[in-house]
Symmetry: D3
Subunit: 244 residues, 6 copies
């Protein structure tokens, strides 16, 4: 299932049968006192592994560097530019296409990568239109999140190291969470943050956007599994179309 553990003699035929490649992409970024810097990598990798399994697709090695503009001044954050990401992802997509893949699903664990992933997907739609490209950031999770969450969201789009993301980790990588250190920190993010470049140190010292102490494995499981089902359905449908 892990592409890089196959050998070149066996892989040719298997690509032809699997047709789909799943790329986890995350970031190295401050996630408060209770979560590791690599949280987004771990989430993307484990989510992608599940997706690969459910859709009989290949799991590619994780791309562990992401665009972390907002948190780049927090200790431990490493940030790369949209430009570098877009070029790299287009190269990977074109290589996959040349190898015979027809579905390329990027499983993204870090919101900040969204712009680069969308741009890369659009460029690939021009250069290799035969390749169906997905960029997933927990699609189809909205209703479940609304149902299970106990603390209100602190922002319309951001969630970070909070009840929600910590729950994901508890479900997918509980061994990396230190709930004893989990905190509740509810920042006041004004309208202005959406209208002007706003590094997060402007409104938080902890990088925790909400109440991480409310996180549970069960909440994580509910949301992650709901999203997985949505992703799996899309990938499976695309595989069918590619074979049809």
């Amino acid at each position: 299932m892990q592409f890089q553990y196959e050998n070149a003699y066996d892989v040719k035929e298997r690509i032809r049968s699997k047709r789909a490649a799943i790329l986890p992409i995350g970031a190295v970024e401050a996630h408060g006192p209770h979560l590791p810097l690599g949280t987004d990598n771990v989430l993307a990798e484990r989510l992608a592994a599940k997706l690969a399994e459910r859709t009989d697709s290949y799991l590619l090695p994780t791309l562990p560097y992401g665009q972390v503009w907002s948190l780049r001044s927090f200790p431990g954050s490493l940030s790369v530019s949209n430009e570098a990401l877009v070029l790299l992802l287009c190269d990977i997509g074109e290589s996959l296409h040349r190898q015979g893949f027809r579905v390329f699903a990027m499983v993204n664990g870090h919101l900040g990568n969204g712009t680069a992933l969308k741009e890369a997907a659009r460029r690939l739609a021009e250069s290799v239109p035969e390749l169906k490209v997905y960029h997933f950031f927990y699609p189809g999770s909205k209703d479940t999140i609304a149902r299970v969450r106990e603390s209100p969201p602190v922002h319309g789009a951001y969630f970070h190291a909070c009840e929600i993301e910590t729950s994901y980790m508890l479900y997918l990588a509980g061994e990396l969470v230190d709930m004893d250190k989990a905190i509740c920190d509810i920042p006041n993010i004004g309208d202005e943050a959406d209208c002007t470049p706003t590094p997060w140190e402007t409104f938080t010292e902890t990088a925790v956007l909400g109440d991480a102490t409310l996180a549970t494995k069960e909440k994580g499981e509910a949301i992650v599994e709901a999203s997985l089902a949505v992703m799996a359905e899309m990938v499976n449908r695309a595989k069918e179309r590619a074979s049809g």
Copy 2:
């Protein structure tokens, strides 16, 4: 030791004491019937882990995509451009510098990445001269290789899936080698291959450049450890200068 498993609260102080970050970089590339596509990633990662340990440095997550022009038409190979790699590595280097690192060592498992790594190192020497940048591709291994090898090299610069590289894997990741499938395939690579773009399918069908059946864990250990000692000395000296 693994940077991405630290959290943002602890990491600040530790960066200040460790000073050095080690980045493994490899590729996904055909390596014959007995080695996995991710051989260069596995080698870079394990070598880098040893280097981090010996020098009390941070190990960064592996960058698993490389420039695979020569083998890009072999089953399973994925190739990215020099341009994308250079941009990404410069971004990572500048981020490390902003975080307080003063030594950045790239441990490269794939010869084809050499051009991009050298270019990135030179650009970083301009943009963040305070950061000492290394690009390692088994430095200081020449004499030991000459001593232990039983089959002659097939080319002045290339070694691939052969006695030497297979020995590295037997030492660092024996569980991923299937010696029962190892073969001997000695291609005739003419002068022209160094003077004009020459995809490797021109001279090999197997992607094995030599006699992989002669590989042993002992040979791998001898070479890898010799190189590790050389790398560790450079990194340690650079750390001292950075603290001095």
Copy 3:
């Protein structure tokens, strides 16, 4: 108030007193049967004029070409790349800074420009940190929209030629709306549209996303004025900080 109608002899002193420049940016794009192709330009321009007036700022000439990837195959749409927009906006921002401006507010009438505007604002935050840069796309309008709308939104982020946008036009440029031609067309936009490049012809033939017949000038006025108040407050605060 209109910057381009000033002359070079008078303008120097006035820039020093006004400090802020407002740039309308829109697009030429299909907007159904009842709205003109230039709807986003007209909205941006008139909104920006009001903002300039309320904040005693200069109104710059409208940049009338935008990124219209999603609708580029609809009759009349003209699309430019994010890359071109970002370069142009950075050049304009740096010129404004050299001229003595300290606040640069882009009033955007077209959602598709959002990525480029955000990227330009971030680059300007590096190159001319003294210049406060805003990218406004109807900020602070969410609650009012929720209150006045009679038809449900067809998507979490998109609104287009619908009850809402048509209401904006009725308030700001009623003479350009032909309500006799307004239609109701409620497309079914699946989750997949957010996860893969999806030109809008996939789900709509009209480019109207909802019920344009429900539009009224009053709804438009309520939303636009709410948003104007939010923008004006941000710009005024920034002007004060720049003078302080």
Copy 4:
């Protein structure tokens, strides 16, 4: 006639019949005490409107930012790079082609844009050879200028805010000219200005290159109409060829 006031339902058929799109492009730039900063925008826009009318073509919205290197330090000037302009104009040209246009005429009001317009036209000649591209900067006006001018030219190529350009404005936009403030300022521009980067503050304080007091509406009309006739003939011929 104004493209952006059409709607998407009607425009498709009309593009097929008109075939030609006229783009005014100018700049925001110091033009002495008697002319507005937007002089080049106003001239381009009104000239383009006349050209569109005479050739039954579509008038596109004005691109109001240009390359103003030479005057960028004068109060009120805004300058964008050749690179940004070229990218934007190529994008617009390719979009026009996709929409069915076969003639794209850029009516330029600002000499400094010439390099970018010529480069864009050449790139479009490669990428969309079916599209005939013109870049007009008062073509065919030389003889008439020589005939009507009373003051000698101060430079072989430049004219600016002088007898000639002020006359254009008196004819095309008299309401924006304040002849009471018109001055005569005859700079001494040496050979060196053509051989080395020479910002205009080197040789003028007013940005008026000659005797603006001699400007008349009649001179402007004579020159502008002569040039219009030349442009109209080219566009009409190109339209015929495109339909033939």
Copy 5:
């Protein structure tokens, strides 16, 4: 005098005393039946040598590839892009500055290079403002040309392989001219050639723009020497300012 024939031990001191470097730049381009493809290179090189001698400056090796868009389809023409030229010239200029030069004069033998040279000079004016940069294309020759020419010019800006350019060659490199093959070919170049991309095969089969049979060494000498005097004066003045 020829920079590349100096050695590294002597050159340091001499750069400090000479201060100025002269770069010939030409092109490989069709020049009719009587002139060689390298005419522009030969002219630039010999003119530059004279200029270096008169101003006690260093002569750099000739850059023999230029932008030949208009004639690129004629036999023997080789064309490079503006982009490549600009990058290369900026690199050379910055290197010269680092070496201690303070005046950099490009002696251009090919009109088509003008755009790139001007752009490079402007970029260098930003990056190394201490370096005075000239781009010379026969400056100060206008009056002499008007005086000596017997055939009228066929275009306001172009001259090529004609009475004028052939005269330059007769004066500077007579041994490379075959006057027996010289022809008279007067093309009709309409206004349109200045307004739309127009490869020269549109209006000439010979690439001779005028009457080459009227060329004489004396005409060439008169024009070239007039221009040389103008160039020498500018360079000498710049050298004085740099030393002052």
Copy 6:
């Protein structure tokens, strides 16, 4: 034989018969006290002339600027970027292809150009696959060098202004060598120089890497002729394939 001395009328037919173009490319770079700055240009040019003669190919004018990162701080060195070189070489290659050439051999006199030449050759292999591209840096010389050299090499890859390169000059351009000034300077270049950006002033003051006093014309002849034979054979074979 020299391309630029042909005229456009004769050259068309001759290109069709010769098929191959040889481009010398060198650099301006410090070469110790006994060799000129233009050593690499002179070597490339004379070597290329011999190759053109032996293979009945066209000799192109020399590109005399190269990538001189390592020595750029030595007196007299001029350096251009890989990026500029790659663009220029790709443009030249594509122009040659358009002119009917089918073999393009770059004869390189400067090791530092190797990266750019290899990259350019690969890009041309994509854009004009019909054109066979060579990048030669003394191919096939290894055995002869090993046989004739009296002093040991100071580095695995670099040779510079030493016994070997001085011998090349004595054979190809003896009039430019001042053997009275030749010196022996054996630097200690550690492993680190291959692993981190290392300007040569770190390990040498003279830029002579070895014992130049041992150079002889005979050694130069032996090596150069051996390499010429290898190059000629490759070019001739490629010409045959192109005609076949």
